[in-house]
């Protein structure tokens, strides 16, 4: 179902096929040229994963021929159709395609080397890029290295198919462990502050894993995976199960683990990482809210940031001594008013769009989001909202005699996580409730939902209002955290990133949204907030765009799909198993048929 469609057009015989060769080689070559030309190679080269041999930049560049090789060997297995066997022809094809990909990239490097004038238009195409593509070996011999490396990687990629499933999976786990340990360097260092031997063993003093530790990690992780596979470990795997009972049990275990982590983790982490965790929390809050609107009720809201903005501005105006509001409240006093304003905003945005078809609704909400931002930004309303300067000097959250704001980030994290917990609890309770069922029905078929007695106007508004209130949680916290609220924090891209978080994680699933927020905001970063991979900065939005496309094409249900979505998007597979009960026993055909 997934990447196999690439193969669909290919003939089923294993005959050596020039068109296939050119297509694979060309695509991999283009991907490599893209990585180099956009400057990713150069920028990410500063991030060393394994010092001194592998940087993030090379990892991305060289993954292209490897993935290509893997796809060459991949076969779609369709029931009843004979699958072409993998032969040495595939290996040859992968090697030659790798060679071609490398040559294309080398040619590109040569082109850039010959025309230095290109740099005027394409600022990234300079000598630095050329030297990276030639592995610093100079223009002559250097051009030959890349095709050779690409060919080898192509061969390795295709070779994966000759390994047993078990071994292949183990190798994958090993590689993933190495890369993620390298990415999470700062987290590991913070967490194991009390046991500094571990980080000192793992990481090079200048950053990045050392070669030895990388090998050790790989062997340990791959070995563990190899021997543990097939044994039942309660945890993430069963979170995606379509079986309700099993899902609930494993969700409870996961929730307990997460709870313990949230209590302990902020104590172990340093300021920078707690800041990061706070950002993840804020986006998770918004993600949970949008999940109700999009995931539960099926209303694609592209202007969701507006509710975040309303929350933040309301809090700012009510608590800042510099605002136009004649009285000052503290954070707790202002909070109910913030929620009320957000709910009103939800009604105000929700009502005009209530009878609209889904795609127009998306665009109108986008329009609302932008209108709100422009109004906050405008000179016209600047006496009230402060125009481009925004509202300044917003105090923190008063607790006892302290005020907790952005500078007391370790305490602030707990506030954020507390509200995340509330939002998650609300989402969880609503999901299987009467109103949750009504939303699900409406998402499936609006007309029929109305016909079986669901007041869809009311249900839609409820979704908008609930979503808006959850976003205003985030807005209120954000205002207290940053101390200054201005319109640039509420650009449309925020809405889009929240949407990506929800979609990548798994629409309609709380755990999915959490994973989405952790992985995306934590690693890549939010619109204005750096993640663990700070180097991603300027490419973040490019990556978000690509992720959105990739997910929609390959895995629209997300990483951790909700039970309903999983069913929806894999109906065929489900139908094949329809006669088996959950233990896999045959339960027979319809008796009467």
């Amino acid at each position: 179902m997934t990447a196999a469609t690439v193969d669909a057009a290919a003939p089923r015989t294993a005959r050596f096929d020039v068109r296939r060769l050119l297509r694979y080689g060309g695509l991999a070559g283009l991907a490599m040229v893209f990585v180099a030309a956009t400057g990713m190679l150069e920028t990410f080269n500063n991030r060393l994963l394994i010092r001194p041999i592998l940087s993030m930049g090379y990892l991305i560049l060289l993954s292209a021929p490897f993935v290509m090789g893997y796809l060459v060997g991949k076969r779609t297995e369709i029931e009843g159709v004979e699958t072409a066997p993998r032969t040495s022809a595939d290996v040859v094809l992968a090697i030659v395609a790798g060679l071609i990909a490398g040559l294309i990239t080398a040619l590109f490097a040569a082109l850039v080397d010959t025309f230095p004038g290109l740099r005027g238009t394409f600022p990234r195409m300079g000598p630095q890029m050329v030297s990276l593509l030639t592995f610093d070996r100079g223009v002559g011999i250097g051009f030959l290295i890349l095709p050779a490396v690409a060919a080898v990687l192509g061969a390795l990629g295709v070779a994966m198919h000759w390994l047993s499933d078990r071994l292949r999976k183990a190798l994958g786990v090993g590689a993933l462990t190495v890369v993620s340990t390298a990415i999470f360097e700062s987290v590991v260092k913070d967490v194991f502050d009390w046991f500094s031997t571990l980080p000192r063993f793992l990481y090079h003093t200048a950053g990045g894993l050392s070669v030895v530790s990388a090998i050790v990690l790989f062997v340990v992780a791959a070995g563990a995976s190899f021997f543990l596979q097939g044994r039942k470990v309660p945890g993430l795997g069963s979170l995606t199960s379509a079986d309700t009972g099993e899902r609930r049990r494993s969700s409870l275990i996961a929730a307990a683990v997460v709870l313990v982590l949230t209590i302990v983790l902020p104590q172990l982490l340093g300021g920078v990482l707690n800041e990061l965790l706070t950002n993840v929390g804020l986006f998770l809050l918004m993600g949970l809210g949008l999940n109700i609107v999009v995931g539960y009720a099926g209303l694609l809201d592209l202007g969701y940031v507006a509710f975040f903005a309303v929350g933040a501005y309301t809090m700012a105006l009510l608590t800042s001594p510099l605002s136009a509001v004649p009285f000052q409240l503290n954070w707790w006093q202002a909070f109910p008013i913030v929620l009320l304003m957000a709910a009103l905003a939800g009604v105000f945005v929700g009502t005009p769009v209530i009878r609209m078809r889904g795609d127009y609704l998306a665009i109108v909400t986008l329009g609302f989001g932008e209108i709100v931002r422009y109004l906050f930004l405008s000179d016209w309303l600047s006496p009230f909202f402060g125009g481009a300067q925004g509202v300044r000097r917003i105090p923190g959250i008063p607790v006892g005699s302290n005020e907790i704001g952005g500078s007391d980030i370790t305490q602030f994290v707990y506030f954020t996580l507390f509200f995340v917990a509330i939002a998650a609890y609300i989402s969880w309770r609503l999901q299987d409730s009467r109103i949750g069922r009504a939303w699900a029905a409406m998402r499936e078929d609006e007309d029929i939902a109305e016909a079986v007695g669901i007041d869809t106007v009311k249900a839609k508004l409820l979704a908008f209002v609930t979503g808006a209130v959850l976003a205003s949680f985030a807005g209120a916290l954000f205002a207290a955290k940053v101390g200054t609220v201005f319109a640039h924090s509420f650009e449309i891209i925020v809405s889009i990133i929240i949407l990506v978080v929800v979609i990548v994680g798994g629409m309609g699933n709380i755990a999915g949204v959490a994973v989405g927020a952790l992985v995306l905001i934590g690693v890549l970063g939010g619109p204005n907030q750096p993640g663990l991979l700070q180097e991603f900065g300027e490419y973040k939005l490019l990556v978000y765009g690509a992720l959105l496309i990739f997910m929609m094409l390959q895995k629209p249900e997300g990483l951790l799909p909700s039970a309903r979505r999983a069913r929806e998007l894999h109906q065929e597979e489900y139908l094949q198993d329809a006669w088996l009960d959950k233990e896999g026993r045959f339960v027979g055909q319809e008796q009467e048929a």
């Binding site: 009502t351 889904g358 795609d359 765009g545």
Partner: protein, 368 residues
């Protein structure tokens, strides 16, 4: 029996039961009308009192708005055609336009450096036009092939979300390739800088050029859609893909044609942008894209002539509206609110007139 039926008929009450949603919508409607009327009156009073803009300034404003509207119209064609045939909003169409404008800039810059720009302006503009059209067409076709083809028949929102992804991917790819700075096309050649005298009106050459190009493209498109075989195939596919396929039409190829034509029109619009505004960067496509979509809806989505008309109307509304209405209300910083006016137009059009003013032309599959 008949008597009772007749009696019942006379007793029929047209049951009009406004829900509060209706009331809310009416309140917005009336509010919008009041604000517009108030602003208009304010402006007229200002004008009568000799304050604000002079008559010539208003006229220039209108001409500029018209040419901008023509650009929106050409861009709107792309939205309209894709919606008419595939039934989804191609959010990335603004970026197709931007890519034409960016690559066109490279050509223009090269021509300028080589001295051709000054020596032979008409040829230069033509070359830039061809480059922009080719780029936009190519990008549109690629996007269709890579991102949309697999999603045929998916629920409407799935391709929309994908197109949002495509939109951001293209934007930031161009940002990474070209940098984020605004690049300026070289000055329009000397001979185009003046104004043209038409029946006592002096109209800027650039506006005339833009409007003429728009009209020519419109005629070309009309000829293509109604008179050529591919155009007919396009209409057939828009009506019903399955039946069209049964009649021997290659649906995939026809859809590629739709994207190609939409892309080509976006390329023309890119040249117009270059003439009117000169500055381009990776974000150039976003707002015009939104506005062009509004135009497409305003003109009735799927309706090609409507798209052009919608574009001109929106251009006028956006170009003249802020000064006329907001200025009349005495709101400061009007130019800043230009985009608010555009987005408000978007919201109002979609809420109150989603089927457009010239009527929708959709295939049977897309009528909901």
């Amino acid at each position: 029996m008949t008597a009772t039926t007749a009696e019942a008929a006379t007793r029929v009450r047209k049951s009009f039961r406004p829900s509060w949603v209706d009331l809310f919508l009416w309140a917005i409607r009336i509010g919008a009308i009041v604000i517009i009327a108030w602003g208009l009156i304010g402006s007229i009073l200002n004008f009568a009192a000799g304050r604000g803009l002079s008559a010539t300034q208003w006229r220039d404003l209108i001409v500029a708005a018209l040419s901008q509207g023509a650009m929106y119209g050409l861009l709107a064609l792309g939205y309209s055609m894709v919606y008419g045939v595939l039934g989804f909003i191609n959010f990335a169409h603004g970026e197709v336009f931007m890519s034409g404008a960016m690559v066109g800039f490279i050509a223009a810059n090269w021509l300028f450096d080589a001295g051709i720009w000054a020596a032979n302006p008409i040829l230069s503009l033509f070359i830039v036009l061809v480059v922009a059209m080719l780029t936009s067409t190519l990008v549109a076709i690629l996007v269709e092939r890579v991102a949309y083809r697999k999603l045929r028949g998916a629920p409407r929102l799935i391709p929309l979300i994908t197109s949002i992804g495509v939109s951001f991917f293209l934007q930031y790819t161009f940002a990474a390739l070209f940098g984020v700075a605004v690049r300026s096309y070289p000055q329009v050649p000397e001979s185009f800088r003046g104004a043209l005298n038409i029946g006592g009106f002096r109209i800027a050459w650039s506006s005339v050029l833009v409007i003429v190009v728009a009209i020519l493209s419109m005629i070309g498109l009309w000829y293509f859609v109604t008179r050529t075989k591919s155009g007919q195939a396009m209409r057939a596919v828009a009506e019903d893909k399955e039946i069209a396929a049964l009649m021997g039409i290659d649906v995939d190829r026809t859809i590629v044609t739709v994207f190609a034509v939409g892309g080509a029109m976006a390329g023309v619009a890119a040249l117009m942008w270059a003439i009117l505004f000169r500055g381009v960067n990776f974000f150039t496509g976003f707002l015009p894209g939104i506005k062009a979509f509004t135009s497409a809806v305003l003109g009735g989505i799927g309706n090609l002539v409507g798209a052009m008309g919608g574009g001109v109307l929106l251009g006028l509304f956006e170009g003249v509206g802020p000064l006329l209405i907001l200025g009349g209300l005495g709101i400061p910083g009007v130019s800043q609110l230009k985009d608010v006016v555009a987005f408000t137009a978007l919201v109002l059009v979609l809420v109150f007139r989603p089927s457009g003013i010239f009527g929708e032309r959709l295939g049977s599959e897309d009528r909901v």
